[in-house]
């Protein structure tokens, strides 16, 4: 947001949210801004990297499955016991499927987690990398 219109900075009214949705460029990139958990996908020469914000979970509690053409991120967030005064954090089971339409090296996929950010590195298979072919001139 460029200018803060609301008198209480940090306060968000539903109107603010609509306004922000039009305003911020991030929203136009993502087709489904309200899916949980949020996912960033990027690629470089050797890897496809999937980053995902899942706070409050250990990597051992997250179920990562690599199917034929997709990566499935699954898990369940549990809430605390007690009398709730306010509950905003999502709880319960979640699942997110990332489709991968590229040949990948399935055996070398690695995942790590830090401060609630899950990072899955999927190496591209050798066959999909561009190769230089030398042509002999006869």
């Amino acid at each position: 947001m460029v200018i803060d219109f609301s008198p209480f900075f940090g306060q968000q009214t539903p109107l603010d949210r609509i306004f922000e949705a039009f305003w911020s460029p991030g929203m136009s990139i993502s087709q489904r801004p309200y899916a949980y958990p949020p996912v960033n996908i990027s690629e470089d020469m050797d890897h496809i990297t999937v980053r995902c914000e899942i706070p409050g979970m250990d990597i051992s509690e997250i179920d990562l499955t690599l199917t034929e053409s997709s990566l499935v991120i699954k898990g369940e967030r549990e809430g605390a016991k007690g009398k709730y005064y306010r509950q905003e954090r999502p709880t319960g089971a979640f699942q997110r499927i990332v489709n991968i339409h590229a040949p990948i090296d399935r055996d070398r996929v690695s995942a790590r987690m830090k401060d609630g950010l899950l990072e899955v590195a999927i190496p591209k298979s050798e066959a999909s990398k561009p190769k230089k072919i030398s042509i002999d001139i006869a």
């Binding site: 940090g10 993502s30 960033n40 990027s42 409050g56 605390a80 954090r89 401060d115």
Partner: protein
């Protein structure tokens, strides 16, 4: 250099972290989702009856990577709360684990329910 980083920091979107407030037998617990915030960048300020929590995510911009799909990015978490007088302010504890900040606010001694003995006269 320092000026450019300053404007960059200013440009970070402010995010209100999702928060749970739970009361249990041993006091109140505040849980805040702050993914990507490390212990070093987290600031908890207690001033009189107000507690302010702020933290900044520091995802490095990946070198040479092409972004295909983006749903989240760097941001600055900020949220403030007013504490009730039954909270023992000297005993507040905070733990940051896996991107969730847990604040434990124990109740002051006098606020805890106690049994009153009745003496028969």
């Amino acid at each position: 250099m320092s000026e450019s980083t300053k404007t960059e920091e200013k440009g970070l979107p402010r995010i209100k972290p999702a928060t749970d407030i739970v009361e249990t037998d041993d006091g109140f617990y505040i849980y805040m989702d702050m993914p990507g915030v490390s212990k070093e960048t987290l600031i908890i300020d207690l001033n009189e009856d107000e507690i302010k929590v702020s933290g900044r995510t520091s995802y490095p911009s990946p070198e040479g990577e092409k972004l295909i799909h983006v749903e989240f990015g760097n941001g600055e978490f900020y949220r403030g709360f007013t504490l009730s007088h039954i909270v023992d302010k000297s005993q507040i504890k905070g733990t940051l684990k896996n991107g969730v900040l847990e604040l434990h606010l124990p109740k002051a001694e006098k606020a805890q329910p106690r049994k009153i003995d009745i003496q028969m006269g």
